[in-house]
């Protein structure tokens, strides 16, 4: 039987260091931001999964959140960070019910994503149709690519 001695036990401090390392790693992955190592396809484990597209004048963020009411969904914009927060309730069956299968997730969710460029917060539009949330964020005018004319002298 192993008896743990907390505090100054060198094994414990090593385990604590390992745990802190794991927590940092989890924090980096759990923040939901595209990291340097996997900017494109990420094995995210946060709900909802997001797809982000870039067009010349805007960013488009899409998420699949079926079966939610607009009142249960909150979208916030802070600087260049888009935050989604909400709750997915299922209508409870009336009376006695036995579940044969229960695959659809339910509960609360919260996720933020920082866009890589500056966004005009006044021009953010969100649309929810057929279970898909689409948020269109117009880029700030200063961030739009500008054509530079060449003048020959």
């Amino acid at each position: 039987m192993i008896r743990w001695r907390l505090g100054r036990d060198p094994l414990y401090s090593e385990m604590a260091r390992l745990q802190r390392g794991m927590e940092d790693l989890f924090e980096a992955l759990a923040s939901g931001r595209p990291t340097a190592t996997s900017p494109w396809w990420s094995n995210a484990n946060l709900f909802p999964l997001l797809n982000v597209y870039e067009r010349e004048d805007c960013y488009i963020v899409t998420a699949e959140i079926p079966g939610i009411k607009k009142d249960d969904l909150e979208i916030k914009m802070e600087g260049d960070t888009l935050s989604l927060k909400g709750e997915r309730q299922h209508q409870q069956p009336e009376g006695q019910a036995a579940y044969h299968r229960r695959e659809r997730a339910k509960g609360s969710f919260q996720r933020s994503i920082t866009l890589p460029g500056k966004v005009d917060p006044q021009k953010v539009k969100a649309n929810y149709k057929d279970g898909v949330l689409t948020v269109t964020l117009a880029k700030e005018p200063a961030a739009l690519p500008k054509q530079i004319d060449i003048v020959t002298e």
Binding site: P34, P39, W40, W41, S42, A44, N45, L46, F47, P48, L49, L50, N51, V52, Y53, E54, R55, Y59, I60, T62, E64, I65, P66, G67, I68, E87, R88, H90, P93, E94, G95, Q96, A97, A98, Y99, H100, R101, R102, E103, R104, A105, K106, G107, S108, F109, I113, P116, Y128, K129, D130, G131, V132
Partner: protein, 133 residues
């Protein structure tokens, strides 16, 4: 008590094995909830991105098949992050004789398909009243 945090389930790709499908693209199995009350069975399937014109429910022999086709939309732009794939949905269930096949109904809203399968009358539990003579 705090609400639980939602877990993510990645979509599972499946083989759509009916010949009449002409739609290109991957098929995924939608997440379903199936529960049974005294009168009926209810199936709820998550099919986001599909609109109600593109949902098909096929019933033959003792097999219920749900198909949802998500229209391939135009290129949205350059993808910066792609955590989920878009595609069609396909799933088959076997239904037993407990279900009255003529009375199955379905509705679709916000990406969730709800199918109601009423049970055959004799399968509904009933209390038998006792008369004293």
């Amino acid at each position: 008590m705090a609400d639980q945090e939602m877990q993510v389930t990645h979509k599972k790709e499946v083989e759509a094995n009916r010949g009449e499908f002409m739609s290109e693209g991957p098929y995924f199995a939608p997440a379903v909830d199936i529960y049974e009350t005294e009168q009926e069975l209810i199936v709820l399937a998550d099919m986001p991105g599909v609109n109600s014109d593109h949902v098909e429910i096929d019933l033959r022999d003792n097999s219920l098949t749900i198909v949802g086709k998500a229209p391939l939309d135009k290129e949205e732009g350059t993808a910066l992050l792609a955590e989920y794939r878009k595609g069609n949905y396909f799933r088959t269930f076997r239904i037993t004789d407990v279900v009255d096949q003529t009375k199955i109904s379905a509705s679709f809203s916000d990406g969730v398909l709800r199918i109601t399968l009423p049970k055959v009358a004799k399968a509904v539990p009933r209390k038998i009243p006792i008369t004293t003579e």
